[in-house]
Symmetry: C2
């Protein structure tokens, strides 16, 4: 199944994406509410096959989880990216977080912050969407805790990220991190290790990695994070980015006005976002929309 | 005013703390809901003076904001603490975050994680509770964005904090960070720079600092964070800890079974929490309570 959150005139709604269009899952304002409804969420979503389909181009697709309880990110988790950043292979996952308000929609126009316009970077990542969740989950049980996968762009304001030892400030810029367009359930994705992730800037391939190259795979990450805190339905884990970020280029090819960044993951989906030079005031308008 | 969140038989409720007892502010499940109700929250709270008082010892006092949208923490922000950690004075605030589920109640018994029991540390801190909030707030306007202050203990699982460059994992352990007992509004606190903060472990003074020793004061922090993201009502900013943490002692005097940690800030309040050796299963029970 592919699950989406739509912005309709009457409000937002979770929906099943089918070849014929989006079928609303009535009673759930987003995919997060659906996943939080309990273990029958799959059956609830399937029942929407009886609903009329909304044409794919007739609905605005939002980020699938409008207000997740947690966005936990993993740094330095691709072998090749670690080499380009010049650090050693880690013994433990490097975890940090974004505020939920850092997320934005899969086709959003993303303002280059007026306060820090010249250092905006892309990081294409596989996003794990938690389903049942839980605490102290063993790696062998981790897949049962996960609902599905999305694509994400862990947009990073490098000057702000690197101004102290802690990356959070540069990773949580308001409405800078697109995610979606759907949550693809695990049964539909198949073998994660064969998925390839590509990031193109204005059509030029910048990042290309295999999800089989993750140092800490999804079961390890779910086990590690759930040892620390309970994972809840709709929580999001960003699993790390492969090599090829602008920061590591010489000179860094940071994003500029009108650049289009596409994050594409096999069988999971494609994000396409235009970056736009904007004053902070204009950025504020965008984020209220 | 002093605002609290109470756990009553019929549910949780925001309350005004007066000498006679707690006066419920009906219609608001916690102080966060009150602050989110708009600019009239002060008048709404004052109107509760007409309500009957619940005796101070007849109600369980919870953390004032049950589920904040953001918990932003500031590291290395006291001049003396920076010296004990052996790092240089910073040019920018060092920001990281906790998940809201890392917070717990002002008198909670806090389990020492079975998975990491020997490295649990205290960090007494002043907590800023956002009122109006906003984006791109100038330092001169910052006080208008703040509702009041609380005490907090930024409990840190040092082995987990230090396993990578990013502190988040060791700072966000489930229900490990007590905050409260009330939100004291700014008008009642007076000059922040004269406030002194003390942390005692089993009665022994371990930390003692003046809030005048903050490198980045509250106006600077509100301005810096609101440049990055919009601050919302009920958001929490932990402003950093003074010298005297266990980590910096030789050998480190980490917390042990039955230790009582008291964080006390002049005119703001006192937290007192017992730490208890516990299996992860027991910790899970505590956090559901």
């Amino acid at each position: 199944m592919q699950l989406a959150t739509l912005d309709l005139d009457e409000g937002t709604v979770a929906a099943l994406r089918t070849d014929e269009g989006f079928r609303p899952i009535e009673g759930f304002a987003d995919v997060g509410a659906l996943l939080g409804s309990g273990p029958d969420w799959r059956a609830t979503a399937q029942a929407a096959m009886a609903a009329d389909a909304i044409a794919h181009d007739a609905a605005a697709v939002l980020r699938p989880i409008l207000d997740p309880g947690a966005v936990v990110c993993v740094g330095v988790n691709f072998r090749a990216h670690i080499r380009e950043m010049g650090v050693d292979l880690p013994d433990h996952p490097t975890l940090f977080s974004k505020l939920p308000r850092a997320l934005t929609d899969p086709d959003a126009v993303i303002p280059l912050p007026a306060a820090a316009p010249g250092c905006v970077d892309y990081e294409g990542e596989l996003a794990v969407i938690v389903g049942a969740g839980g605490r102290d989950i063993a790696p062998a049980d981790a897949w049962d805790a996960v609902a599905g996968l999305s694509a994400a762009n862990d947009v990073s304001i490098r000057d702000v990220q690197m101004r102290s030892t802690q990356w959070f400030a540069g990773k949580t810029w308001e409405r800078s991190t697109p995610i979606g367009p759907t949550v693809v359930t695990l049964d539909e994705v198949g073998d994660i290790d064969t998925l390839e992730l590509r990031v193109r800037v204005n059509g030029d391939l910048r990042q290309h990695g295999s999800l089989g190259d993750l140092i800490f795979g999804i079961p390890d990450l779910v086990a590690d994070i759930s040892r620390i805190v309970t994972l809840h339905p709709g929580d999001i884990i960003l699993t790390g980015t492969p090599s090829g970020v602008a920061y590591a280029m010489s000179p860094p090819a940071y994003l500029r006005d009108d650049d289009v960044v596409e994050v594409s993951i096999d069988r999971v989906g494609t994000l396409s976002n235009t970056f736009r030079a904007a004053s902070l005031a204009i950025a504020g308008e965008e984020t209220r929309a």
